[in-house]
Structure formats: structure tokens, C-alpha cells
Amino acid sequence: MAELNSLYREVILDHFKCPRGKKMIECPDVTFEGYNPVCGDEVKIAIKIQDGFIQDVAVNSIGCAISVAAGSMLAELLPGKSLAEAEELGKAFEGLLKGEIEGLPEDIGDLESLEGVSRFPVRVKCAMLAWKTIQHAVGLLKEGTPSKERISTEDATTEASRSEAGAEKHNGANHVC
């Protein structure tokens, strides 16, 4: 079961069992919810920034080992980074999942352990969920005003789910303090 060992490495299982960043942040600058309709996985992201640098990240996931571990690793890596640096890291991570392991940045940390996912194409979306969600949140922070609260790995948000997301906004899912 060498293939399985390359997918479920110790470090991934550790992040899955004890996810970092699983917490609430008081008055985050942006909150964002990601959803994978194929499997029902969900991730809630909250980010606090100060002087253009990410100060704190909360990642609350409901999902498989791969999606929870990826979110946990990002929560560990992002604090201290500028929005541009966060995007760079995300780009490198996307490349890693496509099997591009040349030229990885030194600060990719535990994310490198998710390299094995590239050999399981149906699981790439799991690994991408948290990053895709953070990417949207970072995009909103750069624009200034959050306009969307919920994204889907299928990029096909229907009218119904948009209005649902709108309802969540009133419930405080998208506070901008």
C-alpha cells in the first residue's frame, strides 16, 4: 500500500487529528465560507490583518483528512505573511498538487507533504478547498469590500445558494469590523 502511504503521511494525519487554526477570531477583517458540493465538505475561514500583513487565521473545517490537513497547514503558515506573499504560497501549493515539485519555495512547510495528492486526481479538490477559500478572502481584502460570502469548488453558485449565502450574511457570517 505504498500509494496510500504517500497520500496519508504521518504529518497529514497529525494535522487531521489536531487541526491548527481551529478557533474563533474576534472581529476578523474578513470571513469566508468554502463548500465542495460533490462531497459536502465545508470550510470557514476568518482572517485578521494588520498593516497589510496577516495577523491571524482561523480555519474551521468539516471534511476529509486531506481537506482538513490542508486547511490546518495553511492556518499555520499564513500568519506573518503579506497578502502578496500569501498568494505566492498558494500558487506554489496549486503547482505542487499538479505534480510540479521543482522550484518550491522554502517556506512551503508541511504543505509539501500533500504532494502525494497529485497521484489521486479525484482528491485534488479536497486539498484545494481551504486554499481556494482563502484566495477569495485575500482577494476581497485587496479589493476592500467583501462582495461574496460563499464559494464552491464547482464554481457554479446557483441563484438559490447565492440567496442562501445572502441570508448567512445577516447571521453574521461575513462581519467586517
Binding site: 500509494e3 496510500l4 494525519l13 462531497c39 476529509c64 483528512a65 482528491r123
Partner: protein
Amino acid sequence: MTTAIQTLGASLRKDFPIFSRKVHGKRVVYLDNAATTQKPLSVIEALSRYYSTMNANVHRGIHTLAEEATGAYEGARKAVARFLGARPEEVVFTKNATEAINFVALGWARHRLKRGDAIVLTEMEHHANLVPWILLAREIGLELRYIPIDAEGKLRLETLAKLIDHKVRLVALVHASNVLGTINPVEAVIEEAKKVGAKVLVDAAQSLPHLRVNVRALDCDFLAFSAHKMLGPTGVGVLYGKMDALEETVPVLGGGEMIERVTYDSVTFNQIPWRFEAGTPNIADVIAFLPALAYLESLDSKTSIQHEQNLSQAAIEALERMGFRVLGPKAPNERVGVVSWTSEFAHPHDTATILDQFGVAVRAGHHCAQPLMHKLGLAATTRASFYIYNDMDDVEMLIEALKEVRSYFG
């Protein structure tokens, strides 16, 4: 009975070419039959034979090929009718069960129901028998009511009398749940619906592959199912409708085949059932559904369901011993061969990935029944679904692979 059961399982697998291939170096243990079943050689050959020997469009041609294709296509309709205990003109070919249900929603309910009328569904519906009604309810202002389920995932029949009152015009319910495995006592629901004159649509996509249904005896008004879940090709569904119900139904799709006379500003329709089959139908796949039905008819359906229930029971006992929580009815005879489970330690997607490395194909996710999952407080389950060609070796391989899941996550 035991001897009969021994003729199922591995001895049938030789009829299915796919079982000669390997996945990750292992034999295929196919336990995703509720999603789609594998196809016997006779079905695959019928597809090829049609294209090789009689390919032509149906109903319109005068030439020999067209005549043969039409004969085979209409022959399949007769075979389906016989299988259901219906008349051929009560059998409408669609592309799948979903389309069949949509035809009832858009062709019948949309024109016969008015604001304030109610439709009764169950809490265990597949999106196929849920979303069409939500859309219609939104469009014309209908009330949707749901027959609740109990802790075992069975319908709470004591609620029927109250739920099905004079406002109810249609009861649309699933015969067997694709998540819980529950076989619903549709007869009791139909009896209650008749009391108020409501029509009944049965979603038989998960039941007909396992249980023989006689629509006349059942006395439902509509029944929908898909060929690909019962050995047939993809792209073929069936809408059975009682003649009076089909007469109340308007065609949802317009085009060739479904007309009698067309002018620049008017149209009259072809007879039932052809008026519901606009455009060139899925001729090849409909014709190839015939050997699938013949294959099922060559087996004793009571023995088959008993076989699947035995496999389910063995799987359920092993799963529970290993600490997994199995959904659905406790009594084996109250379910089809569908077994869904959850666990505290392993997510269904991880479970399915690990099982796949053992050649074991299962389903992980919400199974197109999100409201049910929400009601159960779950995001996803892992599901194994058994069919006639599975056997105890398959169950053992499933359990063996689950031990690996435990070793990673337990």
C-alpha cells in the same frame, strides 16, 4: 433456496466482461450498484449488433432497416410493459428516472395543480424526486409536505392520515432509499392517497433492480426508473403512467415524432406514448435494455433479493463489530442491498480512497439526498450497495480493506 442462491454471485460474474479487469492490481469488487450496475455481455453485444446490423431512425422509414429498428425499439417497449404488468402504450421512454419525474412535474402537475394545493413527499427523497417539486412549488405556489422518518430510517406511517388531507393532489415517494436502503410500504401510502383522490408517483429507481413490481397490483398512477441501475445501458429511463394519468399529461418537449399534424401556427399531438418522445429517441440503448430485462427475468427475483439481503446483513454485522455506525432499518428484509455507514474517525472520502486501493468500489458523499443528510446530522456517508453478482468474497474484501482504514485513522 440455498442451491438457488449459490447460482448467484461469482458464477454470474463471468457474464460481465468488466470483472475480468483489475484495479490497482486487484480484482474489481464492485459495490457501487446503487449508482449504476455493470452490464452483461448480452447488453453490450446488443448495442454493437444494433449499430452493425440495423441502424436506422425509427417510426418514419419505409425501408427494411427502419422497419427492423422500429420493430426492435417497440419490442423493447413491450418487454418493459410485460416486466411491469403494464400495457405498452403506458410505457414512455425517457433518458433517465429524473427526466421521467420531471415529465410528471412539468407535464401533469404544472397544469393540473393550482396555488394552495399540496404535494406529499418523504424525508428520504433523492434530489431527483425533490428538486422538480421544489421548483414547481416555487413557480405556482404549492405546499410541500414530508412524511417523516423514524430513528431506523423508516416512514412514520402513523402520520399519513394527518398529512394526506383534501388539499393533497399528489403523493410522490421513493420506493427504496438510496441512502438508508429502506423499502417503503408504498401500498399503505397509495391506499391513503386514494382516500382523498390524490395521484401517486413512485420513484422506483432503487427498487425495481431488486424487487418485482406489478404496477397494476400496486395501483400507482406514475412510476419512474432508470435502465442503467438494472443491468441496462445509460441514457434510458422509463415513465410508466396509467392511461388516464397520461391523458391528463401534456408533452413537455415538442419536436419531431411527437406530432400528428403541424401547420405554421398549430399542432396536434401523436398518440400516447409517442407524444412524450420528441425527437429521435435513444434507439440503440432502448433496444439494448431488452437483454438486460431478459437477464433479470432469467433469475428468480425472490432469490436475488434474499441473496442481496444476506450480503447486506453480513456487511452490517461486520461494520458494527468494527465500530462503524450503520444507517437504516435493523431487519434485513426491510431493506434492499444498500448499506450506508459513518464513523467518528474516518471521513467517507478517505474511506473510499483506501477501499479503492483494494479494488473495492464504494460511494462516498451525500448521495444526492442533502435534506436527508441534514436531517440525520451528517455531511456524508460511505455506501456499499450489493447486486446479484456480488458474493461473500466481496463482503470479506470490503471488511479487509476497512481494517486498513482503521489502521490509518482508528
